[in-house]
Subunit: 400 residues, 2 copies
C-alpha cells in the first residue's frame, strides 16, 4: 500500500480545490498511489488523523469540488515550529504518515505553508524517513517568489476588475457624482489592488487612483490630486489596498482608526474609511462611498477565471509528477513563456525559494507620482483574468 496525502492551508481561494482535484484525477489516470487521502483542516487535521479518502467521492462530486470556492478540505492557520523547538510534532506527523502508508504529502498554500514543506522535507531527509513532501502554490495575494503568478490570483483579479468596472459605471449615473473608494485585500503586496488596472471603459482606465502598500502614501500630494480631479470631473474613483502605509511604515487604517475624534466621526479602521476621512478632512466633498471587497475577492467562484481554474488543476498534476519522480522539498510552479499568445510551462522550484518570502509589485509598473499603474503592466495582467464583461452607456458623464 502506497498512499499520498493532500491538505490545504491558509485563506481560501476560488480555485484551491481545483489543485487537489487535479492531483486526484492525475493519480486516477496514472495509478501511482493506491489512495489519495485528504487531510482535513490542513496540518491541524493531519495531526488529528482526520483523513478522507477522495475515492469515496463520485465523479460528479469530484467535479463539484473542483468548481467550489473556499477550502473544500478545510484549512488552518498553523505554522509548524522548527523541529529543534518542537520535535514531538514532527515525530507524531511521521508516525502518522507511516501508519497510513503515506509515501507523499502535498501541502497547498502560500509562503507560510511552503515553509512547512521546507521544514518537513528537511526533517525527513535528516532523519531518514522515505517520505516525499512537496508543495502546491496558492494565494490570491500573488506574492510568492519565482512563480509567474499564483493560482487564485487570476480569479481574484478578474473579480476585482469586474466589480471596479460595474461600480464605476454605477457611481457615475447622476449629474452630481461623488467619490467612490474600493478597498482590496493585500496587506504587504499590492497585486490585488493593482489588478484594478484591468477595469477599463471606452479604452480608458476606470480608476483615477490605485494605491499600493509598496508606495509610501504621501497624504498631502494625494489630497491635492484628489481635489484637482474632483474639481475637474465632479467624480473620483479610488482603489486602495488594505495595506497602504505612510512613509513611516504605519498603516493608514491604524492611524485613522485612532484619530477618528479629530476628524469628528467614527472610523472602523479600514484603509478605505481612512481615505474617506482624509478626503472629508480636506473639505473636498462629503459624497463618498466606501466598498470593502472583503472575502468576496477570494471566494467569488461565480466569476472565476477559467485560465486560473485550469492552471490550478495542472499544478496539482505537476506536484503529483514531482513526487512520482522521487522529488521532495519542491513546489510546483508555472513560468510564463509568452504574454500574447499567453503560454506558460509547468515546472518546480525548491520550497526554500518561496518559504517566508514576499514578491512585491514591481516599482517600474507604478506611475511616477505613485498613484496609479502604468499601461506596461497590462500585458502581465490581461491573460490571467480572462474575458471581462463589456459594457456600453450613452450619457455623457460616462464618456468623460
Amino acid at each position: 500500500m502506497k498512499n499520498c496525502l493532500v491538505a490545504q492551508s491558509g485563506g481560501p481561494t476560488s480555485v484551491i480545490n481545483a489543485s487537489a482535484v487535479g492531483l486526484y484525477l492525475a493519480n486516477k489516470e496514472n495509478g501511482h498511489f493506491d489512495k489519495v487521502l485528504a487531510g482535513l483542516n490542513g496540518i491541524e487535521g493531519v495531526l488529528r488523523e482526520d483523513f478522507f479518502d477522495m475515492s469515496e467521492l463520485s465523479d460528479e462530486e469530484v467535479e463539484l469540488l473542483r468548481t467550489t470556492p473556499s477550502a473544500g478540505l478545510g484549512s488552518c492557520r498553523y505554522k509548524l515550529k522548527d523541529s529543534t523547538v518542537n520535535k514531538e510534532e514532527y515525530e507524531k506527523l511521521f508516525d502518522i504518515f507511516s501508519r497510513h502508508s503515506i509515501d507523499s504529502f502535498f501541502y497547498i498554500g502560500g509562503n507560510d505553508s511552503q515553509d512547512t514543506v521546507k521544514k518537513l522535507s528537511a526533517y525527513a531527509k535528516e532523519n531518514g524517513f522515505d517520505v516525499r513532501i512537496n508543495g502546491i502554490p496558492k494565494t490570491v495575494d500573488n506574492d510568492l517568489m519565482v512563480i509567474d503568478h499564483t493560482p487564485g490570483f487570476g480569479s481574484a483579479a478578474k473579480y476585482i476588475a469586474t466589480i471596479v468596472l460595474e461600480s464605476y459605471l454605477d457611481s457615475l449615473v447622476y449629474t452630481n457624482n461623488g467619490i467612490f473608494i474600493v478597498e482590496t485585500m493585500g496587506r504587504d503586496a499590492g497585486w490585488l489592488a493593482a489588478s484594478a488596472c484591468l477595469a477599463r471603459y471606452n479604452g480608458r482606465q476606470c480608476a483615477d487612483f490605485i494605491l499600493l502598500p509598496e508606495v509610501p502614501f504621501d497624504e498631502a500630494a494625494f489630497a491635492a490630486k484628489v481635489k484637482e480631479t474632483f474639481d475637474k470631473k465632479n467624480h473620483v474613483y479610488i482603489v486602495a489596498s488594505e495595506g497602504v502605509k505612510y512613509p513611516n511604515g504605519e498603516f493608514l487604517a491604524a492611524t485613522k482608526a485612532q484619530s477618528h475624534d479629530s476628524f469628528g466621526h467614527a472610523q472602523l479602521g479600514g484603509a478605505g474609511n481612512a481615505i474617506k476621512a482624509i478626503i472629508e478632512a480636506n473639505g473636498i466633498t462629503k459624497r463618498i462611498k466606501v466598498l470593502e471587497l472583503s472575502v468576496l475577492q477570494r471566494c467569488a467562484f461565480h466569476a472565476v477565471s477559467e485560465i486560473d481554474l485550469e492552471e490550478s488543476g495542472k499544478l496539482g498534476k505537476t506536484a503529483l509528477e514531482l513526487a512520482a519522480a522521487g522529488e521532495t522539498g519542491k513546489v510546483a510552479i508555472l513560468v510564463r513563456e509568452s504574454d500574447d499568445p499567453y503560454k506558460v510551462t509547468f515546472t518546480s522550484t525548491d520550497a526554500s525559494n518561496i518559504a517566508n518570502k514576499v514578491k512585491y509589485f514591481p516599482a517600474e509598473w507604478v506611475t511616477p507620482d505613485g498613484f496609479n499603474i502604468r499601461e506596461e503592466a497590462l500585458s502581465y495582467f490581461v491573460p490571467l483574468a480572462g474575458k471581462l464583461p463589456e459594457y456600453r452607456v450613452i450619457h455623457k458623464y460616462h464618456n468623460m
Copy 2:
C-alpha cells in the same frame, strides 16, 4: 413627426437598461413612433432638453446597452413638485414635449418616479395636452405595490444568494470559526435581505438569521439566540437589512453609531457593524466579519438573472403598447400566474396604485421568532433568481 421619450430615475439596477432597449426594439419592429429619444439623467435632463436619439446606436451598441448595468441613460433623484406648487416646471416640460414632437413619455423608476408619471399624466389631462405618460417599474428593493416583483430585484436576489453561499463556505474553513454578517440594502422593506433564503447548502438554509426592517428587533432575544447558536456550532451566519429597527422605530445603525464609546470601539453606522457591536458587547466572540454589499447588489450584471433581464425588456415593450393603445397614467406590470412552472403575464395598473406606496415583506413568510424566513417563501423567490451555482465540500464543518 411623432416621437417618444424614455428616461431613467433613481438608483441603478442590473437590468434598467434592458427596459429602455426593450421599448426601443419593440418600436423598431412596429414603427409606432418615428424616433425613440432618450432623456439623459431623468427628468433633470429632460428639463435641460438633454436628449439622445437611440437610433444613433448601432445594433451592437444597442445589445451592449441592454446587457450593461447602471443607468445607461443617466439618472436623477428629482421629485417633481405638485403642479399647484411649481406650475412653471410643468409648463416647461410640456413645451419641451411639444417642440420635440413627443407624443409619449416613459419614465423608468420606483415609487417616486411613478409619482411623477401620476402627476404628469393628471396635468396633461387637466390641461388638454395630448401626451401620454406611462411608467416602467424598476427597483432592486422589490417594494412596489400590485406588481408581483420589480425588474432589478431578481438579479439582486441572485447576486445576494450567490454571495451568501460563497461567503458562507468561506467562513467555515477553519476548526475555529466565527460569526459572519452580511448587510444588504433595503431601508424600508426586507425583500433583498430575505432573498438570502435562496442560499442553501446540502439542502439546508445557509443563514442562521435573516433580519428585516419589518420585524422589530428584539436585542435581548437576538443576543441570546446568537449565543446559543454559536455555542452549538462555533459559527453563526447572519444576513441583515440596512433598515433593521428597534421596536421604537429607531434604526440599529443610527443607535450604534452614536453609542460607539460605550462599546469601546468606533462604529461607522451600518446595521452590520451595529450587530457586530451587539455581539461583542454580549461577550459572545470577537471573531466577527462584516460584509456590506453596498452597490454591488444593484450593479453586478456579471451575475445577472436571465429571467429578470428578459422580463425587464418585455416591460419596456408592454409600456410601448400601452402608449400605442392611447393609455396614459399607467405602469406596465407583471402578474404571476404560476410558481412552477413559472409563468407571468404582462399588463398594467394605474400609476396611483404604485406612486409613493411601499410593499412590505409578508409577515406570514417570517419565522415565528422573527429571525428567519419560512420555507413557504421559497416558491416565490426561486424562479426570480434563476439558476444558482452548486458547490460541494467534504470537510465536516461544512456538513454540519
